[in-house]
């Protein structure tokens, strides 16, 4: 028998420790993406289907490049945080840690790759 209140037992664990910060981070990136995603869909969508020369010319202009870079940075961070939360819901122990490592690796690798590509196209 443990003479401790339920609240006291919860303080410092799980959502009582860092859940609100994670939730707030998701809200911030969600609002950013609510603006960025429509801009990206219609800029990327109008470039897709063009010839190599047309695509290179389109993505040497500042607006489509900045929109694409911001969407990819915020998008992959939003994905990393969301997928991590999903993994924490469904997996335990070592598999949880490995899956979170994998998601983090994929998100940052994809982000770095697309930023390299966008920089090379733009400059």
């Amino acid at each position: 028998m443990d003479y401790i209140t339920d609240r006291k037992r919860a303080v410092g664990h799980g959502a009582a420790k860092s859940g609100t910060q994670k939730h707030w981070a998701m809200q911030i990136s969600a609002v950013a993406l609510a603006i960025l995603v429509p801009l990206f869909v219609f800029t990327f969508g109008s470039a897709l289907g063009g010839s190599y020369e047309e695509v290179v010319a389109y993505y040497s202009r500042p607006f489509p490049v900045i929109v694409a870079a911001l969407t990819m940075i915020v998008g992959f961070l939003h994905f990393k945080n969301g997928a991590t939360t999903a993994i924490e819901d469904y997996a335990r122990g070592t598999s949880r840690k490995l899956l979170i490592l994998l998601v983090t690796f994929v998100a940052y690798t994809a982000m770095a790759t697309v930023l390299f590509a966008l920089a090379r196209l733009a400059l």
């Binding site: 869909v41 219609f42 994929v106």
Partner: protein, 127 residues
């Protein structure tokens, strides 16, 4: 104070004992579309990398993205993107403490599905 269930708590959600409803289906679809969008996102990253590499490599990757299977993946990704977009806005609305009663939540669920389908159609027609 009851000292029960300290370690082996069940994981959420208990899908195998849960009757599907509009609210639960639209909720789990948010997660499914969000994670599935990785596939489309990686294809887009690959396409940008190809465009930055050179014309021969670009033609290869662009050919894959604009092939019929590429079109299917990109169109499904587009729907997933608009669905996740609308569902995310619904979450932001809920986070203000509004719309949490069941009739409103179900109305919002129908709205999210309708929005995602209409926006996908509009985007495909325009682009």
């Amino acid at each position: 104070m009851a000292d029960v269930n300290r370690g082996n708590r069940p994981l959420s959600p208990h899908l195998q004992v849960y009757r599907p409803q509009l609210t639960s289906i639209t909720s789990i679809l948010t997660r499914i579309t969000g994670n599935a969008l990785l596939a489309g996102a990686l294809l887009v990253v690959w396409w940008f990398l190809a465009a930055a590499t050179g014309s021969a490599y670009f033609d290869l990757v662009d050919g894959i993205l604009t092939s019929w299977i590429g079109n299917v993946i990109m169109t499904l990704s587009l729907w997933a993107l608009w669905y996740h977009f609308a569902a995310g806005l619904r979450h932001l609305y809920w986070d203000t403490g509004r719309g949490l009663d069941i009739p409103t939540a179900e109305k919002l669920g129908k709205l999210v599905i309708a929005f995602s389908l209409i926006m996908t159609l509009i985007t495909v027609i325009i682009l």
